[in-house]
Symmetry: C2
Subunit: 71 residues, 2 copies
Amino acid sequence: MHCQNYGQRVQHSVFECVVDATQYTTLKIELTGLVDEKKIVRFYQLGNNYKTKEEHIGVKGSLDLEDPLIF
Amino acid sequence: MHCQNYGQRVQHSVFECVVDATQYTTLKIELTGLVDEKKIVRFYQLGNNYKTKEEHIGVKGSLDLEDPLIF
């Protein structure tokens, strides 16, 4: 739920989020409060040119991270 | 199995692989042959400085992508 506030779910456990530095920090703090010892969350920063760093195999649904996000 | 030939599984459906351009192309070709219409695979290229672009919450097991990989 928290990740979906910041971006879009692209697979069951994978979210792509377009965030600024403040939002990124806030998201990490929120998730840190939720993650128990048995769970892990990994973050990968793609930078501003993220569109050039993504590729895809298989059916791609409607996924445009430039769509408006509701906070 | 194919992804594990190139790197390490860090979550159930997430693999981190250190590959050169040729290996990356080969991996994509292999996976394209495996993915049916109901599955998707997404690739994110972190570049050479990938260590600075990863962060982690929760228990982190032994994960060092510089460990030797068996091909």
